[in-house]
Amino acid sequence: MSQAAAQRLEAFLERVPYVRFLGMRAELAGDEMTAILPFAPHLIGNVALPALHGGVIGAFMEMTALAQLSVIAPSPKVHKTIDITIEYLRPGKAQVIYARADVRKIGRQIANVHVEAWQDHRDKPAAALRGHFLLSGT
């Protein structure tokens, strides 16, 4: 994708304080964005296992969807989440986690996005998210 898309993504990641709290990054390869959440001790939800907090994985996938939307539906404002459904497939290990968003439908007002997060193997997802997002005016 173009230089402009990379700039929009960078601007989104820079602008949202919560993205920095998580420590989330993202990379664009052509039109495909991969979000990366490096492991950090404050992301732990279960000390005994140890495992990432379920809420962190959900939040990371939600931010992945919003980051992808910031690239393909540029807007000066942040798009709003309407609803999300999170499926937890495997425990999130205490290591880096990746996610990719698939924008299934983008309308005038609403976008439908699927996100999948994985750790060691792309075909063994740790969690998945489906969500609807209200697009802010461009």
Binding site: P17, F21, I44, V47, H53, G55, A59
Partner: protein
């Protein structure tokens, strides 16, 4: 004549012996023990501590947690509204608290989220703290069903609601 193959199937064979052991172990725990366990769960979990969670109340099957507003948890810098992700983590954790408070009596150890559905009704007020309350309304031998909601000022005017199913992991005997 029918030949026997292997062990005869006894009518109670499907009963998990550990479940029966659990029933005999079922006990009522004191409010102090419950509050102590809940406080550990809300304040000692690294992610919960990082988000600044505070335990408001806990009773069997119910729990309530507050997240104080903080600059670094903002999701929309134009408005100063707390990020949806924080609300997601808060609702998830509060569901866990509600289940733990109820399942402690049954000797369960931990929970893992199976699925969680969150509806965002409206953004929180700028710079507002967010409170979540959760109710574990059904507990089977292996699954807990929970509803939760999050609000900023008025519990009857929620910013988000959640519905989830969680897997229960039993304590090793």
């Amino acid at each position: 004549m029918v030949a026997w193959r292997g062990r005869p199937r006894l009518p109670y064979r499907h009963v998990d012996p550990s479940a029966r052991a659990l029933q005999t172990r079922r006990m009522t725990i004191s409010p102090e023990t419950l509050i102590e366990a809940a406080r550990r769960m809300v304040e000692a979990v690294p992610q919960a501590a990082a988000l600044g969670f505070k335990l408001l109340s806990v009773e069997s099957g119910k729990g309530s947690i507050l997240t104080p507003w903080r600059e670094d948890l903002v999701g929309d810098p134009d408005t100063g509204v707390i990020a949806g992700g924080v609300v997601t983590a808060l609702l998830d954790h509060c569901c866990g608290l509600a289940i733990t408070s109820r399942s402690l009596e049954g000797g369960f150890l931990s929970t893992a989220t199976l699925d969680l559905r969150i509806d965002y009704m409206r953004p929180a007020a700028p710079r507002a703290d967010v409170t979540a309350t959760a109710h574990c309304y059904k507990l089977t031998r292996s699954i807990a069903f929970v509803r939760a909601h999050a609000f900023d000022a008025d519990p009857d005017d929620p910013i988000a609601t959640a519905q989830g199913a969680f897997v229960l992991k039993r304590a090793q005997p």
